[in-house]
């Protein structure tokens, strides 16, 4: 388990770095996919196979495909060479380092709640995570689920409005 965790975290962080550093958006898109895979791996470790599946399907499957499609659509050669200037890199690096330091500080010095829930690994294994999630999704989180559906609908309208040439 530990070993797997480190492997996955290495992959995830490495690919994330690649995403932001690669010049060619296509490359970074592929690295992003890799990163998602790593995250899916984490989920598997954490006994959330369902989420892992979602991750692969929705993200790596749907969203990234969409992204790649758009990149292709927008004449890759034009957008490949959009560099970024140095001082900006430096400041950005600094800021994100500071952010990380601070968050890490909180994480290290803080303490989480004692585990009080009942969904132990054993229970989840017994019932099966998909079933549990399903139950919750359609009882306690029914309303968010509905809203999410409307949200997606609106997003479709939006995409359509943005993408079409004129009214």
């Amino acid at each position: 388990m530990e070993a797997l965790f480190y492997v996955f975290s290495f992959i995830a962080i490495f690919s994330a770095l690649m995403v932001v550093t690669m010049r060619n958006p296509l490359t970074s898109a592929l690295y992003l996919v890799l990163c998602f895979f790593a995250l899916a791996g984490f989920y598997v470790i954490l006994d959330m196979q369902f989420l892992a599946a979602m991750q692969i399907l929705v993200y790596a499957g749907a969203i990234m495909v969409l992204v790649v499609l758009v990149i292709m659509l927008l004449n890759i050669s034009r957008i490949k060479n959009i560099g970024s200037d140095l001082h900006q890199k430096i400041i950005g690096g600094l800021i994100s380092l500071v952010l990380f330091a601070e968050i890490a500080l909180y994480i290290i010095n803080g303490a989480q709640k004692k585990p009080t829930g009942i969904f132990t690994r054993a229970l989840i294994k017994k019932i099966g995570n998909t079933q549990i999630i399903g139950e919750f999704l359609f009882t306690e989180y029914m309303l968010p689920f509905e809203i999410a559906s409307i949200l997606l609908f609106v997003a479709i309208i939006g995409a359509y409005l943005f993408a079409k040439k004129k009214y």
Binding site: V19, S28, R78, I79, I82, L137
Partner: protein, 97 residues
Amino acid sequence: MNNYLIVASIIFCIGALGVIVRKNLIVVFMSLELMFNAANLGFVAVSNRLNLISGDIFVIFVIVVAAAEAAIALGIAIAFYREKGTVDIDKANELKN
């Protein structure tokens, strides 16, 4: 246990870095996705640690929202490209002061 959160925060900050330094709208968007995913990781880890399930539910909704945002983002990207002929966000400088 904190390791998961540390990893999550690292990815989060990398995402932030990407948003800050990159000028390519598409890449910026991807970095945003990274940030969201960092949060996802955090949720899953925490809910697992606390033997809870609600965190995992949250992740599902985050994924949904991410999808929606992807749609919007790419729509905007296309519109922007159509008008400016590029996706360099530095070209978005008409509105100032």
